[in-house]
Amino acid sequence: MTHDLVLTPALARLVADPALAAIVGTAIYESGERTFVVPSLEWTLIVETPEAEIYDRVQVQFDVFTRSKDTMLAALRRIDRLLVHRVQWTLGTLQIRSLKLDIRTNPTEGGVHSGSIDVEFKPVRER
């Protein structure tokens, strides 16, 4: 499974969400692709396995940066709800199972609160 098959519709879901937009605005981008701003939501592709693999999956790390802890936590919860809180769902053209691998808050640096959520997307295969 190539990452754009799941990332494009997953990101569209995040961008279209008013609650998330109220926190990070339009600053949703791939890490390293833009100048770092606060608030923002960055994503990084961590793992992408070839489709032929038995353990076919895409793992993505989402990082939220805000000026307050409450909004950072609210954004993480929102991402969790939008991308993970369902057993099986249609994402773009694929039937997907998504799994929250990890969620963590990071040390506050320079007044910036940050937290991360790692999500794994797996295609559902018919037996």
Partner: protein, 155 residues
């Protein structure tokens, strides 16, 4: 009478289970050691292969030799009471600890550095520089997962 017969059979199964567990632990020790080595070598490979600048999401470039040399794994440890065999893999385990002395001598906390590479963060003198993730541990786990499962499967 039937109670006694049943108990006797249960004892027999327990003995069989103990013997079976012992067999599994003996063969499993080798398998766990092999699986740990596979994962450790993949981590080392990811950390040592790239030269020059690395993009976010890619393993870090080979700047510091101590980072990949610092990856190691412990010998399998058997806990008969729990029926567990464990081997730890990662920075500073096994022979890896020796390499970390170089980092410490240079004033670098190797564990903080490795964590920052894996997950990214905010760093720099003014604490305002964004360092994107350059993961090496999670991709290594994913790459060897099927091989490790195969090694650990009892045939």
């Amino acid at each position: 009478m039937s109670m006694i017969e049943i108990r006797g059979r249960t004892d027999g199964l327990e003995e069989m289970a103990k013997e079976l567990l012992e067999e599994v632990l003996v063969s499993g020790e080798k398998q766990v050691g092999e699986a740990a080595a596979v994962l450790g070598k993949e981590m080392k490979r990811l950390l040592s292969s790239r030269r020059g600048p690395s993009r976010p999401g890619e393993p870090p470039a080979r700047e510091a030799d101590w980072l990949w040399k610092g990856i190691g794994w412990t010998r399998p440890k058997v806990n008969r009471q729990k029926g567990e065999i464990t081997s730890s893999v990662g920075l500073g385990f096994g022979r890896g600890y020796r390499a970390l002395e170089k980092a410490k001598a240079a004033g670098v906390n190797p564990f903080e550095y490795a964590w920052l590479q894996e997950y990214g963060g905010i760093s720099g003198k003014t604490r305002s520089t964004r360092l994107p993730p350059r993961p090496w541990a999670r991709p290594a786990e994913a790459r060897v997962e099927s091989e490790v499962v195969q090694i650990l499967t009892i045939h």
